[in-house]
Symmetry: C2
């Protein structure tokens, strides 16, 4: 069994935004999928140890900014390799408060969605949040960044808390 086959799965790259009370946070995710078309719903898998997980659970809503292919690596790094418990990830960021009151991150976004959670599924280390789309907008005509592109071209790496983290990847310089 070669778990590196999992790296062949195709994803986009997203900044997930969420709120708890007056606190806002965002994090990188690659596992946003449409689940049904009637009504339009999406799912995202979030690590239980992430602050954004707590905020989504508290407010039952999230935003997803769909990153375009030319998104600079430091922008992703700001949201992906830091915790909102330690730093204010929103400092200097261009965002708006969406219909769900979650922050919607606008830099490098080709489109965004907002969703109200209708169901959540405990899958061990992660929770799958299933949300009904309540807002969606296309911002640019750019292509979305694919996870493969992020890995291959941008030499991006995967934080340990990501669903797609594979322990062996540290030795895999491909």
């Amino acid at each position: 069994m070669d778990l590196n086959a999992l790296h062949k799965l195709g994803y986009g790259m997203y900044i997930i935004g969420a709120r708890q009370g007056d606190k806002l946070n965002g994090q990188v995710a690659n596992t946003v999928s449409q689940i049904t078309s009637e009504p339009p719903t999406v799912a995202v898998s979030i690590n239980k140890s992430n602050l954004t997980h707590d905020y989504i659970m508290a407010s039952q809503a999230f935003s997803a900014a769909i990153l375009h292919e030319q998104t600079p690596l430091p922008y992703i790094g700001n949201f992906g390799f830091k915790s909102g418990r330690d730093v204010d990830k929103l400092k200097g960021m261009n965002y708006k408060i969406g219909n769900t009151k979650a922050p919607v991150f606008l830099d490098h976004a080709t489109a965004y969605l907002e969703a109200e959670v209708i169901q959540h599924v405990d899958v061990g280390t992660h929770t799958i949040f299933i949300g009904r789309i309540v807002n969606a907008e296309i911002l640019t005509e750019d292509r979305c960044m694919t996870y493969e592109y992020y890995h291959a071209v941008k030499r991006g790496t995967t934080p340990r808390t990501a669903p797609s983290y594979i322990a062996e990847e540290k030795g895999d310089k491909k």
Copy 2:
């Protein structure tokens, strides 16, 4: 609200294989996502009206062949726009019986996975099957076909039963 923003989400393209008794079937899906890394699990959203849905429910297992970018459109059409209730989709196809006894479709696959269902989630028109990876292999070094590539370059269309079907798309020739 512009639901076409959902078309900006990034996916790969997959042939999902499943078995019920001695009957085998396969279908196209684009919503395969890794969900956790410990243990390695993936989720796939399947329309309840599809034959493959019944087979996965019966056998609690599925395979996912990850299609490479150069997959010819007729190959996808064979699995995506026909029902195994009407035709034998496996006729003339190159497949093997995997560890889970599900068929694993090998043509145009850059890698494949097999999973045993550990949880399924009713989401209205669809079921999300969450499976623990029990087999995985890389077959070629090709890049996976992205759903965006399928739509933009190959001019692929989306069957009405897909999670990502958007009614307005019929008028959207982009």
